[in-house]
Symmetry: C2
Subunit: 368 residues, 2 copies
């Protein structure tokens, strides 16, 4: 989708232009098979101007819609702006691949772009190589090195990048528990350990992921809907795929058959098979909401990339543990994570830990 | 101790004067049997001035030293300032009691103070009643009603006030644990689950409390020193009383016999007896650092006022639970706490929960 820079601004340096491109990118959806990408076009250098100004901008709205570069070029064309000799500043290396849309590389060449600056390499086996392709055709292509900009650009495509690079979805596990690490009291009662603010926050997160998984045990015990709902309890525009993992059948009146995303029942206990099945469906970001058997199996297999931790100020002293034994016997062998960001959700503490450290902390998607 | 307001400022209204008094109070120590109190004196109203200015200020440095009111009056006298007709603005109701020092009420009367504004009622059976005493002698005495100021004043004397009011120390439990609520791996390894920043933070907290308690089990297993140390690992100026709870003897070479606070061995398993023994020693704030048997017994008895929660981004899946069964079988019976404040300590999440909610959140002592 394109934005109109009606009054050219004197944003000259590439870093500032990349900031604009990153802002454009955030207009795109967090879910879906494609990454969020933004692009702005800088006017050619001119003797009359000390600084080059942005002449157009655009972003990618998701699979099947124009890529950010094409959106920016279209934005310029619609307003009669000549793009010949312009510089494209784009958050991801331009694709070199005919998929649902034509390659961005040819679109840039056809528009007469003579310089391309990008932030993140395209990791795709099919779509990558755009930089070299353009260079071979005389375009000056280079990658920005500013670590803070790169971190923001990486954050923007974190889950997509991971899925393309590793061949499996990025896995976020949600743990909503008592201060002492329990998800249910001794008699099985668990609604609600965490407060309303945490649960609302959880729905915002759901509205950003591609799929939510629970075990058949959790589906049978809690009868969840696994929908993303807004504050008025209405369904959000985007509903993630609902995934149930396990052998047992669900009753015909299960809430999982109600309004919401598609339902996928994976009759397996093999977490690798679960992720492979989801990768086949171009799921980039999977949110796992339990039960402990699935969560623990994912931890045991080293397949968890991020944990969303909601801790309620309540003590149970007994009951169901959020995480069960997964083979750690001594502290030195326990997996260490990185604490990315945290805040209070009502009376609960919320924080995000990841396997990957983070140099700069920006607004996280879940906070939007 | 007194501060010099060399250049009288046009701080007229009582709220601002109380803010100054609260600031003065924070110069006093957080530990010790006495509360932190601050006092400022406002010049008598004058036809020449639209606003009354602060003429003196002082705070209480701890038991045996002048109370804040006397410190402020002394501050004025030393600089030749006439206190007759002045208003005393003080964070706590002036005491009416001869203890280690003479009553503040008489000091205020002798100084010719004609108006007293205070924030917090003195809860002491001996020391209370100062307001009525002064009123009976013609002083205009009133209590400030601003909720934000009152909250700050309450926070200042929270632990002392609790101890005087209830007859037992304010109890803070420290829980330093894994994401899944464990304080040791299956083989007993526990050093260190939390990171350096959390441990340093724990030492800052130790330097503000009156006593630290552990069980003999923890003393024998971990051989802790229970000292408050600074970043260079030197002993802090204030060392809390070290308390060991349990029947077993400690070995003669235990670190608890090394440099640090006095050592008190309480040969009991009765947590009420522990608190009574500490109340006898004028301990206002007890920090409990384990083991789980003591912590759990305190939770079971409903004797915990605050929990300092340090959560490391590490998963154990098995091992020693931070809190054991204390009789909760269903969620509705579990004690609910209030999340007061939280921040990140290195890679760990840290937050404070209390039994008492808090309307306004100020800098906590532990953050200083």
């Amino acid at each position: 989708m394109s934005s109109t820079f009606g009054s050219p601004r004197s944003v000259s340096d590439i870093g500032n232009a990349m900031d604009y491109a990153l802002d454009e990118a955030t207009n795109g959806p967090q879910f879906g098979p494609n990454p969020r990408v933004g692009c702005v076009l800088l006017a050619p250098a001119s003797d009359n101007e000390l600084r080059r100004h942005i002449i157009a901008g655009g972003w990618h709205e998701g699979a099947g819609t124009p890529h950010a570069e094409v959106a920016a070029i279209t934005d310029a064309r619609l307003r009669g702006i000549d793009t010949r000799g312009a510089t494209a500043v784009v958050t991801l290396e331009p694709c070199n691949h005919t998929g649902l849309t034509k390659p961005c590389t040819d679109a840039l060449l056809n528009a007469g772009i003579t310089e391309v600056v990008y932030a993140i390499d395209d990791p795709g086996a099919d779509s990558g190589g755009g930089a070299d392709y353009l260079r071979a055709r005389g375009v000056h292509v280079w990658q920005i090195k500013d670590e803070m900009i790169l971190e923001e650009a990486r954050e923007l495509v974190l889950r997509w990048y991971h899925a393309i690079k590793t061949g499996r979805p990025y896995v976020t596990v949600k743990l909503a528990m008592s201060l002492d690490g329990r998800i249910a009291a001794a008699d099985g009662t668990s609604q609600w350990i965490t407060g309303l603010a945490s649960r609302r926050h959880g729905h915002v997160v759901r509205s950003t992921v591609d799929a939510i998984a629970v075990t058949t045990g959790t589906a049978l015990h809690d009868n969840p809907s696994l929908t993303a709902r807004d504050e008025a309890d209405n369904l959000a525009a985007h509903q993630p795929l609902r995934v149930v993992v396990g052998m047992r059948d669900l009753p015909a009146d299960a809430n999982l058959y109600g309004p919401g995303g598609d339902l996928l029942h994976l009759r397996t206990h093999d977490v690798h098979a679960v992720l492979a099945a989801l990768q086949d469906r171009q799921i980039r970001h999977l949110l796992v909401e339990g039960g402990p058997a699935l969560t623990t199996a994912l931890f045991a297999a080293g397949l968890v990339d991020e944990i969303h931790v909601y801790i309620a100020p309540v003590l149970l002293g007994a009951g169901t543990e959020a995480v069960s034994d997964f083979g750690i016997t001594t502290l030195a062998d326990a997996p260490r994570w990185h604490n990315i960001i945290g805040h209070r959700e009502g009376e609960d503490a919320f924080f995000i830990v990841r396997t990957a450290p983070r140099t700069w902390v920006f607004d996280l998607e879940a906070d939007e």
